[in-house]
Subunit: 81 residues, 2 copies
């Protein structure tokens, strides 16, 4: 099964990468952009006996490896296939 | 309008972050995961006169700032609202 994970800086937490990109936009002459935040996008394939088992494993990977629980949130999608 | 950008390592390009995560999975006792790849997930709000104008700006931001055209692909979604 294919899965996609979205890790995002938690609301209210400073996002230095996002601030850097916003600063660079000004140099490019691009205006009208706000609240730009940079997170991670992880794709994977997972071999599991059921959709529920795949979801449980992906959740565990997020909690123990991909997301920093102090400053990041995550969500994920596991394909039905 | 809200937009979401997905930047991914191009197929065939080595993804050291993905390999590192896969290695760590073994230490956690998690098996059955393959082709794990780590990209970036960028969210932003964009003030533009039309949906087409917003899409054009987001495309430009991807090309000129967010994605390395040598080794990364990108795709994006702009909400209708």
């Amino acid at each position: 099964m294919r899965a996609r994970v979205f890790v995002t800086p938690r609301k209210g937490i400073l996002d230095p990468q996002g601030r850097a990109v916003e600063g660079a936009l000004t140099s490019l002459g691009i205006s009208g952009v706000a609240n730009l935040r940079v997170g991670r996008y992880v794709t994977l394939e997972i071999d599991a006996p059921s959709h529920a088992a795949a979801e449980a494993t992906v959740k565990r990977i997020c909690e123990q490896l991909l997301a920093n629980p102090n400053i990041e949130d995550f969500r994920f999608e596991v394909d039905a296939g």
